[in-house]
C-alpha cells in the first residue's frame, strides 16, 4: 500500500515539471510565431513605403528566414492539444510529420529567396516574393492550425 502511494507521489512529482516544460514549449512557440508575424508585417510595411530602408528590409527578411528554418523544432512531440494547455496546434501535425516537415521546408525555401532578394532594390520582386512566403505560411495554417 505504502509502495503504491510512494509510486504515485513519484509519478506526480515527475509529471509536474514535465507538464510545466510542455507548457513552456507551447508558450515559447506562440511567442515565436507572434514575433514571426511582427517581422513579416514590418517587412511588408517597409516594402510598401516609397523608398524602403534596405537595412530594415534585410534585417526583417533575415529574421523571417531564420524563424522559418526553425519551425519544425517548435513542435516537439507532446506539445499538441493533448498537453492540456491552450494551443491552436492540431494533433494532425504529429500524425502527418513528413507532410508537416515538407510544408515547413517549402516555407524555408521561399523565405530564403526573400532574404536574398532583400539585398537588391527590386521592390516589385520583393512584394511578389513576400506574397509567396505568405502563401507558404497559410498552407500550414489551413491544415494544421485550429480556427480562432
Amino acid at each position: 500500500m505504502r509502495a503504491i502511494h510512494l509510486l504515485g507521489f513519484l509519478l506526480l512529482a515527475g509529471a509536474a515539471p514535465l507538464a510545466a516544460a510542455v507548457a513552456d514549449q507551447i508558450k515559447a512557440r506562440q511567442a515565436n510565431f507572434k514575433q514571426l508575424g511582427r517581422d513579416y508585417k514590418a517587412l511588408g510595411d517597409e516594402i510598401k513605403r516609397g523608398s524602403p530602408n534596405p537595412g530594415i528590409v534585410k534585417a526583417r527578411a533575415a529574421a523571417v528566414a531564420a524563424a522559418a528554418s526553425r519551425i519544425p523544432r517548435w513542435f516537439p512531440p507532446g506539445s499538441g492539444p493533448e498537453a492540456g494547455v491552450k494551443t491552436a496546434a492540431k494533433a494532425e501535425i504529429w500524425r502527418r510529420v513528413p507532410d508537416f516537415k515538407a510544408k515547413a521546408a517549402g516555407l524555408r525555401a521561399e523565405a530564403g529567396k526573400m532574404a536574398r532578394l532583400a539585398g537588391g532594390g527590386d521592390r516589385d520582386a520583393m512584394a511578389a516574393q513576400l506574397k509567396a512566403v505568405g502563401a507558404r505560411c497559410k498552407a500550414c495554417h489551413t491544415d494544421y492550425r485550429e480556427e480562432d
Binding site: 514571426l36 508575424g37 508585417k41 514590418a42 510595411d45 510598401k48 505560411c137 497559410k138
Partner: protein, 228 residues
C-alpha cells in the same frame, strides 16, 4: 389606384440615392461578415471599400441631398425624441411627418457611426500572422493593428445590435402601427399625411458630384493613401 379624399396622396419620400445606399448596405454588410468568416479576405476588403464609398456618399448626401436625407432635416434634439417616445408609450397621436421620425433619426445616426467606426478599424487591422491586412495598416505598428482587429470584432456586435433594433422598429411600425415603412424604402413613394409637404428633392447633378467625390476618396484610401 383611386385617389379619393379618403386616401392620402402618394409622394416621393426617399430619393433614389438614399434608397440605393440603404439597400447596398443591406447586401454588403452580410457579405462582409460572410467573407470574413470564410477567410475570403480579398473580397472582404473589396466589400469594405464599397461600404466606405457608400458612407462617404451618405455623409455628403446628408448635407447636399434631398430634404428627407439631410441631417439638418431629420436629426432632432433629445427633447423631440423623448416627446416621440412618450407619444408612442401613451398611444397618443403621433405628430404627422414624413421621413425619419425623431427617434429613427438617432437610430440612423447610430448605425452610420457604427459603420464608420467599423470600416475605419478594418482599414488598420491585421491578423496575428501579419498576412492579411487593411490598406492603412502599414501606417501603424503590429500591436496597434492587432488592437484595431480586436475592436473590429467588438464593433461588429454593436452594429448587429443596432441593426436588430432597426429591424424590430420597422417590424413594429409594420404590424403594430400598420405603418408600412418597407414599401417606401423600395419604391421611394409613400403616403404623406394631409397638411405635410412632400420632401424637397435635390437635383441629380449633385448626386453625380457626390458619387464622383466618394468613389475617388474610397479608391484613395483603398490604395493606402497613395495616388499611384
Amino acid at each position: 389606384m383611386r385617389a379619393g379624399p379618403d386616401r392620402p396622396p402618394r409622394r416621393l419620400i426617399w430619393d433614389l440615392p438614399t434608397r440605393i445606399v440603404h439597400w447596398a448596405l443591406v447586401l454588403l454588410v452580410p457579405f462582409s461578415w460572410w467573407t470574413a468568416e470564410n477567410d475570403m479576405m480579398d473580397r472582404h476588403r473589396l466589400s469594405g471599400y464599397f461600404i466606405l464609398g457608400l458612407l462617404v456618399f451618405r455623409l455628403l448626401w446628408g448635407v447636399v441631398g434631398g430634404e428627407s436625407a439631410r441631417f439638418a432635416g431629420f436629426v432632432r434634439g433629445p427633447r423631440a425624441a423623448w416627446r416621440f417616445v412618450r407619444a408612442l408609450a401613451t398611444r397618443a397621436a403621433l405628430p404627422a411627418s414624413v421621413g425619419h421620425n425623431p427617434l429613427g433619426g438617432w437610430s440612423v445616426l447610430a448605425m452610420l457611426a457604427a459603420l464608420i467606426g467599423q470600416v475605419s478599424l478594418g482599414l488598420f487591422a491585421i491578423d496575428g500572422d501579419g498576412l492579411e491586412s487593411g490598406p492603412l495598416s502599414h501606417y501603424v505598428g503590429y500591436d496597434t493593428a492587432r488592437l484595431a482587429a480586436a475592436a473590429h470584432e467588438i464593433v461588429f456586435y454593436i452594429l448587429i445590435g443596432l441593426i436588430a433594433l432597426h429591424l424590430l422598429a420597422v417590424g413594429w411600425h409594420q404590424f403594430a402601427l400598420r405603418h408600412n415603412l418597407i414599401g417606401p424604402m423600395i419604391t421611394g413613394r409613400g403616403d404623406a399625411p394631409a397638411g405635410v409637404a412632400a420632401p424637397i428633392q435635390a437635383p441629380a447633378w449633385r448626386a453625380a458630384a457626390a458619387l464622383v467625390a466618394s468613389a475617388a476618396l474610397a479608391w484613395f484610401v483603398a490604395n493606402g493613401l497613395r495616388l499611384i
